[in-house]
Symmetry: C3
């Protein structure tokens, strides 16, 4: 459904930002697969319940041949450092699940985010990173949710500052922010 990207050539780093069910993953995949295969898919989801297992299966079913899937739940920076120096286009889906994994594991969030930014800054690319915008609702009741949306907002700002192109998705349609 996502419209074909206007310029098939991808810059070094693209951030595809959007809400839940906004067509982020689909658009990011379309950007990557406009280049010739192979492509690397970096999955950060943890299949910890039936809902998430189902969602992962749907994502996998949609992806065509030509993808190599790498899974990482916490050490995304390490994976980007070791795999991000080839010419193979890489899709990271998504920063939000990774950040959620890091917070739930009680890791040092600012340090891990800084490490990821550093790895993304040094990677060869092209990389397309998917992330959620979560700050446009009412202030959440509980402190963990507030801490999460603060951390997510800061991470999005830092990745956006580093990115060559930033796209905001709404209803499956891309809006170029940068």
């Amino acid at each position: 459904m996502a419209p074909a990207p206007p310029h098939p050539a991808l810059p070094r780093l693209t951030l595809v930002l959007g809400g839940a069910r906004s067509g982020k993953s689909r658009h990011a995949e379309a950007l990557v697969t406009a280049l010739p295969p192979p492509w690397t898919y970096v999955a950060t989801a943890q299949p910890f319940d039936a809902e998430m297992t189902d969602r992962i299966a749907q994502h996998k079913a949609r992806r065509a041949e030509g993808w190599r899937t790498l899974e990482t739940t916490h050490d995304l920076a390490g994976l980007v450092r070791t795999s991000g120096d080839s010419d193979t286009p890489m899709l990271i889906d998504c920063l939000t699940l990774w950040l959620s994994n890091v917070m739930l594991a009680d890791m040092d969030v600012p340090a891990r985010c800084a490490e990821l930014i550093d790895a993304l800054g040094s990677a060869h690319g092209p990389i397309v990173a998917v992330s959620n915008e979560v700050g446009l609702g009412i202030v959440p009741d509980n402190a963990l949710a507030r801490a999460f949306r603060d951390a997510q907002g800061r991470l999005n700002q830092n990745v956006a500052a580093l990115a060559d192109r930033v796209i905001l998705m709404a209803a499956g349609l891309p809006l170029t922010l940068k």
Copy 2:
């Protein structure tokens, strides 16, 4: 308050998307009433409590002469099929309340959404449909709210793919996505 639409002529299908109190209904009404009357207003709200009754009354008070109001809480596809073949411009306000009615009645959501998409695809138009963007906050705690925002996001993507024009409202101002 909504600025006059740049092109008074409406395409076959327009989606006006936005958050709560973003000026969606007002803008959609301005798009429709830029054409000569009569106009059809399709109301999907159920006045199940005082808050909603009050909101419906406010919407009605704002609408001028020239409107014919049709009410449907669940069979929006049927209404679009039977009324959508005239030349009378139709405003559907809104898809979010309709979807909420369908979910609360425990109907088959994907089937009903497919039926609606089919009806919108066959309608003569012009139709302006209003819908909420609900996916830009933190993940909701309860599963029903998560299911709702998933269904709403999918419906918005499908209507947007079908629409000739998609507008995102923020603070009463329109942003053209398509």
Copy 3:
């Protein structure tokens, strides 16, 4: 991090709208400090808990010399009326905390908002007002949160209608709505 504003000259009234951690305050400060000092910073936050005290301290630490800080928790209209007639650029950070203070104090919200709109309409400027967009998540469970997002949405619409320029921030990047 916020990109330098394209036109350093500020119009009479600018609204910088965005989600939590979207870079609103930083961008608004960059707009104001593109003009020569002095600048007036209007703080509306109440340091009622450790989280907010910490956030206020972070904001203060980021601001350079040249700022005069005025604090008001409830009478923002009065402050704008008495201070808004000088040539000194004024940054109001933010309307959302002010509105929250007014609602928690059980004041007459529509009357207070009308009074603020009136004061902003008569002010000399340039004024940059920061506000949150809070209506793009799922409908909140509790009535107070729903009332707040309705009031915030209406206030944003009214300030946006009055403003010469309206900017929506996402991931630290500005999108011009008006």
